[in-house]
């Protein structure tokens, strides 16, 4: 975890050099999105709720049903 934090800090520090808007065309492509499509996020959330044996939290309603809550 410490290594990961160090990598994140290093990459974040490198990001201090601003990229002008006219060079961000590739970042605007939907496939470059770093956030989930909302419906895909629901699928992902269900997996994590199941894995961690936890219902609710993370901004989603805590439904039962699958018996995994």
């Amino acid at each position: 975890l410490r290594a990961l934090i160090a990598i994140l800090l290093a990459t974040s520090a490198a990001g201090c050099a601003a990229v002008p808007q006219n060079r961000r065309a590739r970042l605007a492509d939907p496939m470059m999105s770093v956030t989930d499509e909302p419906l895909d996020a629901y699928r992902r959330q269900k997996l994590y709720d199941t894995r961690e044996g936890a219902a609710g939290g993370d901004g989603t309603a805590a439904g039962g049903g699958c018996g995994c809550q």
Binding site: V19, M31, D40, T50, G56, A62, G64, G67
Partner: protein
């Protein structure tokens, strides 16, 4: 005299030209017309997901006393999302996911149903979620969200507030959110008798940063804190006791969860994108989990296929690596089952005293702490679960 005359002429000329320019400058409304505040639907998206679960768990009654019972499960999950705008600044989003579950929980020895199958052998649960986003300016927006989840015998309400702000010429975006959730559901005895109502409250806060690193690289880090209070079990789960009988699953009444997510997207020269995902999770029940997804190689074609809402995922053949560690502190009396079958579950490890990996050997961390490695595949939007009988022996 001549210089004064020239100066006066300049003042008159520039002053009058500025006044004329201001008079002639058209307003935004004159160019674009009056702002349209009518509700306009921008998109309607649908998605269908299927879950197929095989496996056994100790809290299921569909098996011998003291042994795991069947937890066969099949879920279909249609979803629909409608996005509508109201003027230039307001965006509404309505989202309705529905879960259709067969064998909502494993039934007991035939023909006697257990408490769960009697309540919800087949189950339909649905959520209505609504959010409204207001764009204050080019780089700032705030959103309100609320939702209702209905499921027999379960009700859940949630409401939240979120906001984001772009900085450094939109190279950096910081965002935060707060959500409160209240669950209200029937309490059951393990004999199948309803025993009033139970409540659970959840408060969640998150903060994140998205940073452009290069013209082809973008990273995102997000931290989420979740605090839960109340009845954290479903009240009907059972656990095998030392005397050979079954008892109710008892859980602590509070739980604090921490999740840290890191993402990276890298544009590739052949018009593709390489995406990486990492999530670290820990809570005060002693669970720690590391989840890695990727590398996810997205292409425009694959993404378009997904956007057309076919049951295919742009994360085709993504590999999920889940690494968990056994609890070190208090171990509450809790279910001992794989859920779903291929998922490593620290509670089971704690109960059994040791962990066995589905493939290869389980690595040992810091002496007595055991770890478990499990592998899942997501192919074409369908989760493939591999039962691991060795874990259940």
């Amino acid at each position: 005299v001549r210089s004064r005359f020239v100066a006066a002429a300049l003042v008159i000329a520039f002053g009058s030209s500025r006044a004329l320019a201001e008079d002639a400058k058209p307003t935004d409304a004159q160019i674009l017309g009056p702002e349209d505040t009518a509700l306009r639907i921008e998109s309607i998206t649908t998605r269908i997901t299927g879950y197929n679960q095989y496996g056994f768990g100790y809290q299921s009654k569909a098996g011998p006393i003291g042994g795991p019972g069947s937890e066969r499960l099949l879920v279909f999950e249609p979803q629909v999302e409608v996005v509508a705008t109201q003027g230039d600044r307001v965006t509404h989003r309505i989202w309705v996911p529905i879960d259709v579950v067969t064998a909502a929980s494993p039934h007991s020895f035939e023909p006697t149903p257990d408490v769960v199958s009697g309540a919800s052998r087949k189950l339909e649960g649905g959520t209505f979620q609504w959010s409204t986003t207001y764009k204050a300016d080019r780089g700032s927006q705030v959103a309100l969200t609320s939702g209702l989840h209905i499921e027999n015998p379960f009700r859940s309400w949630n409401a939240g507030l979120s906001g984001s702000r772009a900085l450094a010429d939109q190279n950096t975006v910081v965002a935060g959110s707060v959500v409160g959730i209240l669950d209200w559901f029937d309490r059951f005895l393990i004999t199948g008798v309803r025993n009033g109502r139970a409540e659970r409250s959840t408060t969640m806060a998150s903060a994140g940063v998205t940073q452009v690193l290069t013209p082809t690289t973008i990273v995102h880090v997000n931290y989420g804190l979740t605090v839960q209070e109340g009845e954290l079990g479903n009240t009907w789960n059972v656990v095998p006791l030392a005397n050979g009988e079954r008892g109710a699953e008892l859980l602590p009444s509070s739980r604090t969860r921490h999740a840290l997510v890191g993402r990276m997207s890298q544009f590739l020269p052949w018009n593709g994108a390489l995406r990486l995902y990492y999530r670290f999770y820990t809570d005060d029940w002693g669970i720690e989990a590391h989840s890695v997804e990727g590398p996810d190689h997205a292409t425009p074609d694959a993404y378009a296929l997904s956007r057309r809402s076919l049951p295919l995922s742009h994360a085709d053949r993504a590999i999920f690596l889940h690494h968990s560690r056994a609890p070190r502190r208090h171990a509450p009396r809790r279910r001992q089952r794989p859920c779903p079958a291929s998922v490593s579950h620290p509670w089971r490890q704690a109960r059994r005293g040791r962990a066995r990996a589905g493939f290869g050997a389980a690595p040992t961390l810091r002496g007595r702490v055991r770890s478990l490695l499990s592998l899942e595949r997501l192919a074409n939007g369908r989760r493939i679960v591999r039962p691991r009988p060795a874990l259940l022996k």
